[in-house]
Amino acid sequence: MTRVLEVKGMKKYFGGIRAVDGVDFHVNKGEILGIIGPNGCGKSTLFNCILGQLTPTDGEVLLEGKPVTGLYPSELNKLGVSRTFQLLQVFPTLSVRENLILAGQEHQGTKISRLFGRGDAGLTDAANRMIAFFKLDHLADQKAGGLSYGQQKLLDAAMAFMAGPKLVLLDEPAGGVNLTMLAALKERLEAINREQGATFVVIEHNMDFVMSLCSRVVVMAEGRVLAQGTPAEVRADPAVVEAYLGH
């Protein structure tokens, strides 16, 4: 099975704090990998190191076998890695459609061709399809800042898929989203995974969400990998139970 992403010996120290302390994992093509762990176990720091938001203290990131450690977030995105953030990150004064066009435009042609080309970089149709796919049709021309929290979460996820990425890292997609919206989000993610063969890594606290969505789960605790395997294996692991529930 081809490995889309491989992380080797990832470490990130903040002074004396070892936020991430030697993490190894890989992501196979087409799978949905979940990363879980208690608050402060280093999940988001790990994400930020992989995605070039933070410079890792040590370690290596391979994208389809090629080293991409320390690339700028924008460069990594051009190589087909997309993400969402833990806190909401949409562009509030742009409309929903404009948000989506923005999410895809930097992958169309060159800067110069974009300056002299069409205002929408030829992406209006693609944006409309994405809007329909995420069932945001009635909101297409609304400013993103005026949407409800759950709707913004959907838009946030939709933006991550606009450029047809190889790999999408989702940082707590379910956080603060109500059950109806959560079901919609899960269904959409599964559909993209099934129809386009997109590969995901999901950080999540919501156990039901992770266990039902992911094919494989990595459990982190205190900056290290505690266990990994299928959701059933992980749930049965005594070390995981202890990390989550204590003695």
Binding site: S74, N77, R83, Q89, F91, P92, E106, G117, G119, D120
Partner: protein, 334 residues
């Protein structure tokens, strides 16, 4: 299918011929004031790109007008260079300096960046005042020639005003195109959430430098018109206070609104001339009247227009909902 005309573009297309004919009867002083309005609107348009669209706090726009004005004055008066060449050189020079000034913006943001640009504005002012060999120092430059373009003599007030109008329209259209292109969207993304923008492939470094450079170039273009308009320049109009007036112009007009600079420049540069009738009491009208409204509309005059439009849309939607309710309730009853 005919697409709906963009409202900003529509205003340019409608206003241009009106502005061509209406001031025809003005005396030379009136023509000077409307010319000044357009020139300063060009400079404000540049700052509106840097500040309003890209969100980069710059306090140096008047310095770029100064760079353009001095470059044009030196080239056309001392070296006999044709005005169009001096105009392009002024823009290019400001663009280049703008790139350099953009580098601190890659490291610092918000008011820290404002201080860096403030230092630069002070530097330009000091060069203009002290380097007499280049700029004429406090005595400045007088008798700056007005251009002759394609055999048209623009030395009289009306032809020169119309020439300024043509340049303004061309620069407005160029800015309109830039802002509706993917670049404009990238600039706004920079302002709203640069970290998210980077994660979507937006090249933060290049767009930050471009936002500074293009905004500065518009300052330089404005300067290239300012020098022959006033026919005399000294360092005073490019001092730090002038950069603050440019900031006020952009913010009062409506920062991040395409037409904001025209509204703002009218208030900053034309209104004080109109208020001369008050015989020295003009600050009593200007100070509460122009910056004052920002208290209840932080997004400027055009922000108020936008809000009114949203309110109308909301009312209309509410009316439609109210009209639809009996139908919905009726169907439920069945």
């Amino acid at each position: 299918m005919i697409r709906r005309l963009d409202p900003d573009l529509a205003v340019i297309v409608i206003a241009a011929p009106l502005l061509w004919f209406i001031p025809a009867g003005f005396k030379s002083y009136g023509l000077y004031v409307v010319s000044l309005w357009l020139v300063m609107a060009i400079a404000a348009m540049g700052l509106n790109l840097t500040l309003g669209y890209a969100g980069l706090k710059s306090l140096a726009q008047a310095a770029f007008v100064g760079i353009g004005a001095y470059a044009t004055a030196i080239l056309t008066k001392n070296h006999g260079v044709a005005w169009p060449v001096a105009f392009l050189v002024s823009g290019a020079l400001s663009f280049g300096v703008g790139v350099v000034l953009g580098f601190p913006a890659l490291r610092v943001k918000f008011h820290y960046l404002a201080f860096v640009t403030l230092a630069f504005a002070m530097f330009v002012f000091l060069v203009a005042r002290n380097e007499e060999w280049l700029t004429g120092g406090v005595y400045g430059f007088s008798n700056i020639p007005r251009p002759v373009i394609f055999g048209l003599d623009l030395s009289r007030a009306l032809p020169f005003y119309r020439f300024v109008l043509v340049v303004t329209v061309v620069l407005s259209l160029a800015m309109w195109w830039l802002l509706r292109s993917p670049w404009g969207r990238a600039f706004q993304a920079l302002r709203e959430n640069w970290m998210r923008a980077a994660s979507l492939g937006v090249d933060i470094r290049t767009y930050t430098l471009l936002a500074f450079a293009i905004g500065s170039a518009w300052g330089g273009f404005a300067g290239a018109l300012y020098a022959p308009l006033v026919e005399f320049i000294d360092p005073a109009p490019f001092a730090i206070s002038a950069s603050f007036v440019m900031l006020l112009t952009v913010v009062v007009g409506g920062s991040g609104f395409f037409l904001g600079p025209f509204v703002g420049a009218f208030l900053s540069f034309v209104l004080p001339e109109l208020l001369r009738v008050t015989g020295g009491w003009d600050p009593l009208v200007f100070d509460p009247g122009v910056p004052g409204p920002l208290g209840f509309s932080p997004t400027g005059i055009l922000g108020l227009v936008e809000r009114a439009r949203e309110l109308v849309a909301q009312r209309r939607a509410a009316a439609m909902r109210a009209a639809a309710r009996p139908m919905l309730e009726g169907s439920e009853a069945r």
